[in-house]
């Protein structure tokens, strides 16, 4: 069952079309990677889902309820973490979560308890300073805490890791990993390795359109290629090797600067032995001989080409 359904969504800012006939379905209990280049329309899509922006046409439903622009009813089932969450800097983290709890309609006791639990989860329970003294990573973690406060059925995270250092990124990904059993997560990003780490579903947004959507494992299988990277000690070795008739029959991709070639194969099991044999015959010792693993980066390049 889809927790979020987006149908024929269109949005322009002035003459610039940002979304064009966007269709998207997010299955319940999934971690949905929403991938696209900067400016692809990820944030705009999320803001329309939240009723903060008005779509030119199309519809959005959350748990079967239609999202109406300017209204906040469907947001009671959603938690939202903006790319750069902004807080009332004069408040302390616990005070901020209490305010969020009150606004969400929780009673004071529950808001305090839930707030403390979440501060524990995101590692801010001992912080008694005002938010203005927080680092970016701490603000991002507080952002996750506020997004999870109302036990959302759908958590929208807009590029939560893009501005963080590696440690901050890992902390955020660990938190998302921890909450994925209780809530559906839509995770927009342009950092593909993050998607590989936490997501089980993937959608790629390009020029305001979804160009790919489905289970990550199925997509990776479908788009995987068989072949090897061969890195040579020098360009002479590489050129010599590439001129061989047995090599010419393969599809090759030459990366001259790196003295590396990508050899694509149709019959992987047989041809890999031939490749090794040929190297040995020519007395060329490669620096690297590595199987091409399916990577999201390759896939992304492929589909947005």
């Amino acid at each position: 069952m889809s927790i979020l359904q987006v149908e024929k969504l269109n949005k322009s800012f002035g003459s610039k079309s940002v979304l064009s006939n966007l269709d998207m379905n997010v299955p319940e209990h999934s971690v949905f990677g929403f991938v696209g280049q900067n400016g692809a329309g990820k944030t705009t899509t999320m803001r329309i889902i939240l009723g903060l922006l008005k779509a030119d046409s199309g519809s959005v439903s959350v748990l079967g309820k239609k999202v109406n622009y300017g209204e906040t009813k469907t947001n009671q089932d959603i938690g939202y973490l903006p790319d750069v969450p902004e807080f009332y800097s004069y408040m302390k983290a616990a005070e901020y979560l209490n305010l969020c709890g009150e606004v969400s309609g929780m009673n004071k006791h529950d808001a305090i308890k839930k707030g403390n639990d979440l501060l524990e989860l995101v590692g801010l329970s001992k912080e008694n300073r005002r938010i203005k003294t927080f680092s970016r990573g701490m603000k991002q973690r507080l952002g996750i805490a506020q997004a999870l406060l109302n036990d959302p059925k759908l958590l929208l995270c807009d590029e939560p890791t893009s501005a963080l250092d590696p440690i901050g990124r890992k902390q955020i990904l660990d938190i998302l990993h921890a909450v994925k059993s209780r809530t559906t997560v839509v995770f927009s990003t342009h950092i593909l390795s993050d998607v590989e780490k936490v997501c089980d579903h993937l959608a790629i947004l390009h020029n305001g359109n979804l160009v790919l959507q489905g289970k990550l494992a199925n997509i990776m299988r479908k788009y995987s290629v068989d072949g090897y990277y061969v890195e040579f000690e020098n360009s002479h070795d590489m050129d010599t090797f590439c001129l061989e008739e047995e090599i010419k029959i393969h599809k090759l991709e030459v990366m001259k600067d790196l003295n590396t070639i990508k050899v694509f194969m149709n019959n992987f099991e047989e041809e890999k032995h031939l490749l090794l044999h040929l190297l040995s015959q020519k007395k060329i010792t490669p620096l690297k001989f590595e199987k091409i693993e399916p990577s999201l980066e390759n896939l992304f390049e492929e589909v947005v080409k």
Partner: protein, 255 residues
């Protein structure tokens, strides 16, 4: 109502922790101290520094002079300081994007407008109250035998005029994205009111009169019945500005 009170609490906390409240309280307390003192000292200073002043008949200062200073200070400098402090009351939050988390938590947009307005009205009330109380105490001390008429009503009129301007400020700040444009709208509206007030027959219906007839009230030249149209008209304007702000804010895209 839950949203309204929760957000009002946040607004009050913001006014305290960002020092707006304390700055306004100090400024208005200063007016409270300065008004009677200025009234008392100006004739003496005049005599000291202007040699031929001895030959000029300078009237003895009275309580009325003290209140004249009060109404002048509060209705001009006081309101200017207050409005500058809150000039970006709505547009500032939109620019800083701090409302995004709140709105996505289900906070109603009506509650945002009403709680921001209420916060300003409360602080405006406390500011004018502190200033009037100090002026009153000091005036009674310096001019014990002087009496003035309709003092509380006269101060109420000035407070109501302030509330009217604050509702206009909320409206202007919702309409625009820059605080200076809100100020231009506000100043433009006051200038139009001043021009309209040149026509005597309009004065009885113009909210601006709430801040110009205060001394006449104290001297009993006009009585509260003079304001029987102005007060309902001002209240109607306040309601119109607030409803318009809510309607505009509901349709405002939050990027």
């Amino acid at each position: 109502m839950i949203h309204y009170f929760a957000f009002l609490k946040k607004e009050l906390l913001e006014s305290i922790r960002t020092y707006k409240f304390i700055i306004l309280l100090v400024v208005f307390a200063m007016f409270g101290i300065m008004s009677p003192l200025t009234a008392k000292l100006i004739p003496a200073l005049f005599k000291t520094f202007i040699p031929y002043a001895e030959s000029v008949l300078i009237p003895e200062p009275r309580a009325l002079d003290s209140w004249a200073q009060f109404f002048k200070n509060v209705s001009q400098m006081g309101l200017i300081v207050f409005i500058l402090m809150y000039s970006s009351v709505v547009s500032g939050e939109l620019a800083k994007k701090t409302l995004v988390n709140m709105l996505t938590k289900g906070l109603s947009r009506k509650a945002v407008i009403l709680s921001k307005f209420t916060n300003m009205v409360i602080i405006w009330f406390l500011s004018i109250l502190s200033s009037s109380f100090i002026t009153w105490g000091y005036t009674v001390y310096l001019f014990p035998n002087d009496k003035v008429s309709y003092l509380v009503f006269s101060i109420f009129c000035l407070w109501l005029f302030g509330v009217f301007l604050l509702s206009l400020l909320v409206f202007a700040s919702t309409l625009t994205t820059q605080s200076y444009i809100s100020l231009i709208i506000l100043v433009g509206s006051i200038v139009i009111s001043m021009l309209l007030n040149i026509i005597p027959s309009i004065q009885k219906y113009n909210p601006l009169t709430l801040s110009t007839k205060n001394l006449e009230l104290l001297q009993d030249f006009v009585n509260p019945s003079y304001f029987k149209f102005i007060i309902p008209i001002t209240l109607t304007f306040i309601i119109i500005f607030l409803i318009s702000s809510i309607l505009i804010f509901r349709k405002k895209e939050i990027r």
